[in-house]
Each structure stands twice: as structure tokens, then as C-alpha cells.
Symmetry: C2
Subunit: 164 residues, 2 copies
């Protein structure tokens, strides 16, 4: 296999609606990408900026389940997050809520869609909505972009690493 360039992560703020849309393609079949999205031992390898490690208190990824995790730098907790999994459709769709505990009144609803592009490639689109433009813009200003982009680069490696 020849090396391909790192796919671009596109992060878009809608001017009309307080949403953030993240789009990213992965060079792996959909079943493999979905598995890396749901199994905590895999998620823990890629989530978030590359200088942080992730510890799960709960990760019950099923319709009606919930999660809570903390991110650490050099063993010190720097952030924690929690939410619920509203719906999980195998290999297709995950709908979840999300709160960064540093902003306890903030909450977003995100829908991740997994698209089979053929040729063992997969597109993941996450549409997150906040209930105001101020809240949405606060998230964009928080530095989430680096965490997302670096996380997906780590995920590229995870997807290669556990291939048969």
C-alpha cells in the first residue's frame, strides 16, 4: 500500500443554525471505523489531542447508555466530559449528548453518521447542535479543533494497527 496524504478534517460552523459539522474520511472499511468508535480500549487510544491520555469512568455505548471520561496530561486531570448515548445503530449512526464539565450548563447533541464510500474507505460526519449561537461559538473558541484533528490522526494509526 502506498502512503496517502493525511485526509483533511473539515470543521464548519453553519451561519444560519447553531451547529458544528465535522467531516473526515478514513482509509478503512466502515465496520473497522465503527468498531474503533465504540470499543473503549480502542477509543482510549485515539480520542482528543495527542498530548493527553483518556480514562473512562463509564463507556456504555448502546441506545440508552451513557459515558464519562477524563483527560490527563502527565497523570494530572485537565478536563472531563460526560453524556448519554441516545441512539446507536450498528455501523451507521450514533446520537449522543456531550457536556464538558468545565462548562456544566453547556450541552450539545451530536449525530455521527458513518458512510461506506466503497474501496474500503469511510466518511464520518458529525453534526452537533447547541441551543444558542453563543454556546456554539464558545465551543469553537475552546480549542476543540486541535483535539479533533489530532484525535483523527491518531485514529488513522489505530485503524492501521489493528487491521488483520
Amino acid at each position: 500500500m502506498t502512503a496517502r496524504p493525511v485526509p483533511e478534517t473539515v470543521i464548519e460552523a453553519d451561519p444560519e443554525v447553531p451547529t458544528i459539522r465535522i467531516t473526515r474520511e478514513f482509509d478503512a472499511p466502515r465496520a473497522r471505523v465503527f468498531r474503533a468508535w465504540i470499543e473503549p480500549e480502542l477509543v482510549g487510544q485515539w480520542l482528543g489531542p495527542k498530548d493527553l491520555t483518556t480514562k473512562f469512568d463509564t463507556w456504555d455505548l448502546r441506545t440508552g447508555g451513557n459515558y464519562r471520561y477524563r483527560q490527563l496530561r502527565d497523570g494530572q486531570e485537565v478536563a472531563s466530559f460526560y453524556g448519554s448515548f441516545h441512539e446507536v445503530r450498528p455501523e451507521t449512526r450514533i446520537v449522543q449528548t456531550f457536556t464538558y464539565e468545565g462548562v456544566p450548563d453547556g450541552v450539545t447533541l451530536g449525530t455521527a453518521t458513518f458512510e461506506d464510500l466503497g474501496d474500503d474507505r469511510t466518511r464520518v460526519t458529525i453534526l452537533s447542535v447547541a441551543d444558542s449561537f453563543a454556546a456554539r461559538d464558545g465551543i469553537l473558541a475552546s480549542g476543540m479543533e486541535r483535539g479533533v484533528v489530532e484525535g483523527y490522526e491518531r485514529l488513522d494509526a489505530v485503524l492501521g494497527a489493528y487491521a488483520a
Copy 2:
């Protein structure tokens, strides 16, 4: 106690953001209103339009819990709903997701706030957000208003009924 007029239920669609805001005052202390909102045997007495009865498959109202219920007319199921409780703050705030199973891809995120107005009165405000104006407007066109207004009128009776 003299009879007061039935309080108005205000349902507002924001022109700038795809939200629905429902505001209603209740002639009962906040602890009592909150209890009627969380205990399934009470919720089942008031939820939804007055010609329907509610059956809970699940009602686990706690942070990270979930719910599913069906509404029946003359014993026949006419609608079902499910979601997750993202956050529950006693007597103050409930954040939950909501899907009407007749529109399986539709989902909203709602934040209910319970305000103590003094004089044994309580204001409940629910701010629900959809991820598009089309989805939000579809909910408004679905006849939800009658269900909400009639439900709260039944809740008035429940609040009186279980007072000490």
C-alpha cells in the same frame, strides 16, 4: 383557596435558532412540581393529550438514565417515544433527548428549568433544540401543542390531588 384561571402555556418558535420554548406556571411549590415530573406513577397521570393514556417501558430519571413510553387510545398504541436523561439536578433542571418513533431520525435536546416563584408557585421553562429549522417546524406542525397544553392542565389536577 379561591379558584384561579388556568395558567397560559406559552409555546414560542425562535426566528433565529431552531428551538421551541415552552413556558408554564403551576400553582404549587417547586418540590411538588418536580416530584410530579419525575415519578412515573405521577407522570403517567398527566403526560400528553387528555384522550391518551401512557405506558412506560422504561423510566429511569437520573443523570445517565433513559426512558421509553407508549401512548394508547382505547387500549391501542398510537405513538411511542424514547430518549436519554443527560442530566438531572434535583428540583432545578432536567436535560433530556427526545425521539418520536414515528420519525426515527428526528431527535431534539430539551432543557427543563424549574424556578421557584415564591408564594408556592413554580415556573417551568423547556427549551428544546432541533438541528434544523425543517425539523423544528415539523414538530410544531405535528400537533404537539395540544398534547402539551392538555397535559399541563391534567398536571394542575395532579398537583392539587396529591397535596398534603
